[in-house]
């Protein structure tokens, strides 16, 4: 054999090997693909923390892009219309049934069935990502509604900072006492011009009283129930008495956190994720579950669901990331370490949460809370032009009886719209 022939044979062998290695790489879900992940600004930090941890230990790279909350649904709809959805995209969990019904996510039913931890993933989120028996999304972040109270204002008002209210009536009494401090201090604060804020913070009181606002299929509203009327009446009284800050009537969401950050609000229902942000402002806060008029406790299990974009060609790689987010490593070392709520029910108690009893309390509420399910949730409840917001405004600041009766019909009609 000549030298040239030997060299050719070696080259051919190298080429075959290289090709084989390449094939092996593309067959593997962690093959160095670059994955795009879209999320809304509200949960951007958690998505980025997931991506950073995944990128550090995998060949695939996840690139997170966040959009302002209000613009996000339109951005997704535009991308879907152009058949250019990202590889992965998160959604406010209450919008998940709508996206699943529109086929914007890849069907994950078989993949989820093969996941070892499938029975330990937050069930209300899994249900939200299910449409006609098929699973399309998994929980990405969990945000719960809780009562946050200012311990310093409690002490100044003569209340015990270690004894939060256990009923909604007690919550109102505490707010009234703090409000008596006068000056810039207000007893409470709520988003009276924000449908999403009101459902997030007032519905748990209805659930805690064994009432409901929607049927299981999300096609029939029951906002005219006595339980809902009682809750509205209580907040209405707080507003009329001047215990709730006057800006509550116009709070559409953007300045909600800012109002609590001022440190002049005694006690208010709010997202659990704000605890850390508010304490960084120097506030000393206590946490309590949201209760019903005479007792019980519940929460709105909000946050984001994450699915694989229906137009992606990197389904395996995207699933590799999605499945990884449910792992112990991601849930404990990414979520719990950053004071978040794990999306796995078996990890509610972990080495990080045990350091703060408030975090233990928050994590424990996941099992008691609910995530409402309706295909037309956004258009019926969250949108500024939704019939729910009109109902809320009437119930809190107008003719309450008429608003609840008319609102119930209008919301039901909206829920059933094709």
């Amino acid at each position: 054999m000549t030298t040239r022939a030997v060299a050719s044979a070696v080259m051919a062998a190298v080429l075959v090997l290289a090709t084989a290695c390449g094939d092996q790489g593309t067959d593997n879900a962690d093959d160095g693909a670059v994955l795009t992940l879209w999320t809304r600004a509200a949960t951007e930090s958690v998505s980025k923390a997931y991506a950073d941890a995944y990128n550090a230990t995998h060949r695939n790279k996840v690139e997170v892009t966040a959009y302002p909350n209000e613009e996000y649904p339109a951005k997704l709809a535009s991308a879907a219309g152009a058949k250019a959805l990202p590889d992965l995209f998160a959604s406010d969990v209450v919008f998940a049934p709508q996206y699943a019904s529109q086929g914007l996510w890849v069907d994950l039913t078989d993949r989820l069935a093969g996941l070892a931890v499938k029975d330990r993933i937050a069930p209300s989120h899994v249900r939200a990502g299910t449409w006609e028996g098929q699973n399309y999304a998994l929980p990405h972040t969990i945000d719960l509604s809780v009562l946050l109270y200012n311990k310093d204002l409690y002490a100044r008002a003569g209340l015990d900072p270690e004894k939060p209210p256990t009923t909604l009536r007690e919550f109102a009494d505490h707010a009234r006492k703090v409000d008596q401090l006068g000056g810039d201090v207000n007893g409470t604060y709520f988003g009276g011009n924000c449908g999403g804020c009101v459902e997030f913070t007032l519905w748990p009181s209805v659930w805690a009283a064994n009432g409901d606002v929607l049927d299981a299929e999300g096609e029939q509203a029951t906002v005219d129930s006595p339980e809902m009327a009682d809750v509205f009446a209580l907040y209405r009284a707080l507003y009329e008495e001047g215990v709730a800050a006057p800006a509550s009537k116009d709070e559409a969401g953007p300045t909600w956190l800012g109002a609590l950050r001022s440190g002049n609000v005694g006690i208010a229902p709010a997202p659990s994720v704000w605890l850390d942000a508010l304490e960084q402002q120097g506030l000393r806060l206590g946490v309590a579950p949201i209760s019903g008029l005479t007792g019980g406790e519940s929460t709105f299990v909000g946050g984001d669901a994450l699915g694989i974009g229906a137009t992606t060609e990197k389904v395996e790689q995207a699933w590799d990331f999605l499945a990884w987010t449910t792992s112990d490593e991601a849930q404990v070392e990414v979520v719990a370490k950053n004071k978040g709520v794990p999306t796995r029910t078996d990890l509610a108690a972990n080495k990080y949460s045990s350091a703060d009893p408030r975090t233990v309390l928050i994590n424990g509420l996941v099992a008691k809370g609910r995530t409402p399910y309706a295909r037309n949730f956004n258009v019926s409840f969250n949108d500024p032009q939704s019939p729910w917001l009109q109902t809320v405004r009437g119930a809190l600041f107008g003719d309450a009886g008429k608003a609840l009766a008319d609102g119930n019909s209008a919301i039901t009609k909206s829920l059933q719209q094709g």
Partner: protein, 313 residues
């Protein structure tokens, strides 16, 4: 001694044309078509094709993904029953009338103020036009911040002057205050731009006409009513068309500043289209409303042009 002579400009002899008149006309037509082609392609690609698509979309049930299904005239027949759409249409017309009148009066006033060259007038012209440099969405956010009782200075300033007492919500306290906030924003943002167009029209009026009027003893009002206004008609027609079209398509100011509230009182027609497309995810219905709005705009502009042109002639 030098002499200056003037001579007629020499006319260059042009070589005799080799082509027949018909060929020349065809050549000129071809050159003309070549000049117009890029614009025609752009208009076709970015206006006519999307327009045809929207019309076709309005005749179908159009999912975000998947195949559309012909359902005409369902996307049109539901329009009269839509209560939100009806209230939005009424509000949009009301807003258009208010903003057209106010913006025209303010802009014309500003244009007359800075019409003549005098010390400092350049500064005022620039100052009036400056808000136009701020993007409309940014301007809306700026106003949202200014008017906010939580973070803005307006309420504090008015309280200090003794004009308001306690908490005031400018952008969502009442339908009137919300509308007034949006109108104020639009006046601030667009008065300078409209002023500039009107100023161009004012400068196009020959000074001799004014001089003749002065010689004839006309006072200021007579000059304004008999000379300025009639000669400004083409410019006014342009400004009114721009203002009414822009107002009927209003979106940003209400989307950002008032979110269509309180109680849907400032929800505009385009906000309803946005809601149909991106909240309900019903692209067919959104396309149907868009086509109806486009037809209304065409009719409105045709009437406006016909009336104003007749007056001009």
């Amino acid at each position: 001694m030098s002499t200056t002579t003037t001579s007629r400009p020499t006319v260059r002899d042009t070589p005799p044309r080799q082509t027949t008149p018909r060929t020349g006309r065809r050549l000129r037509a071809l050159v003309g078509a070549a000049y117009a082609a890029p614009t025609a392609v752009m208009v076709g690609l970015f206006f006519l094709v999307p327009l045809a698509l929207v019309v076709w979309m309005s005749l179908n049930r159009w999912p975000l993904l998947g195949k559309p299904k012909f359902n005409a005239p369902a996307n049109y027949s539901g329009i009269p029953e839509d209560e939100l759409l009806r209230s939005a249409a009424w509000f949009t017309v009301k807003y258009t009338v208010i903003i057209t009148v106010l913006l025209f009066v303010v802009a014309f006033g500003l244009a007359l103020l800075v019409q003549h060259r005098r010390p400092g007038v350049g500064f005022f012209r620039t100052a009036f036009f400056l808000p136009m440099a701020v993007g409309f969405a940014s301007a809306s956010l700026l106003f949202l911040g200014f008017l906010s009782d939580e973070i803005g200075p307006v309420t504090d300033l008015l309280s200090w002057l003794g004009l308001v007492d306690g908490y005031v919500s400018w952008t969502s306290g009442s339908p009137d205050s919300a509308l007034a906030s949006a109108v104020l924003l639009v006046l601030w943002r667009f008065a300078g731009f409209t002023m500039l167009i009107l100023l161009t029209g004012l400068h196009a009026i020959p000074p001799d006409v004014y001089e003749a009027a002065r010689v004839d003893g006309a006072n200021r009002w007579q000059t304004f009513g008999r000379i300025t206004l009639p000669l400004m008609r083409p410019t006014i027609a342009l400004v009114l068309t721009l203002m009414t079209t822009g107002s009927l398509l209003a979106f940003d100011q209400f989307w950002i500043l008032t979110r269509g509230g309180p109680d849907n009182s400032t929800t505009s027609l385009v906000m309803v289209i946005y809601r149909e497309a991106f909240v309900r995810l019903d692209l067919g219905s959104a396309a149907g409303i868009s086509v109806v709005l486009l037809a209304a705009l065409l009719v409105f502009n045709a009437i406006q042009f016909r009336v104003l042109r007749r007056r001009s002639s």
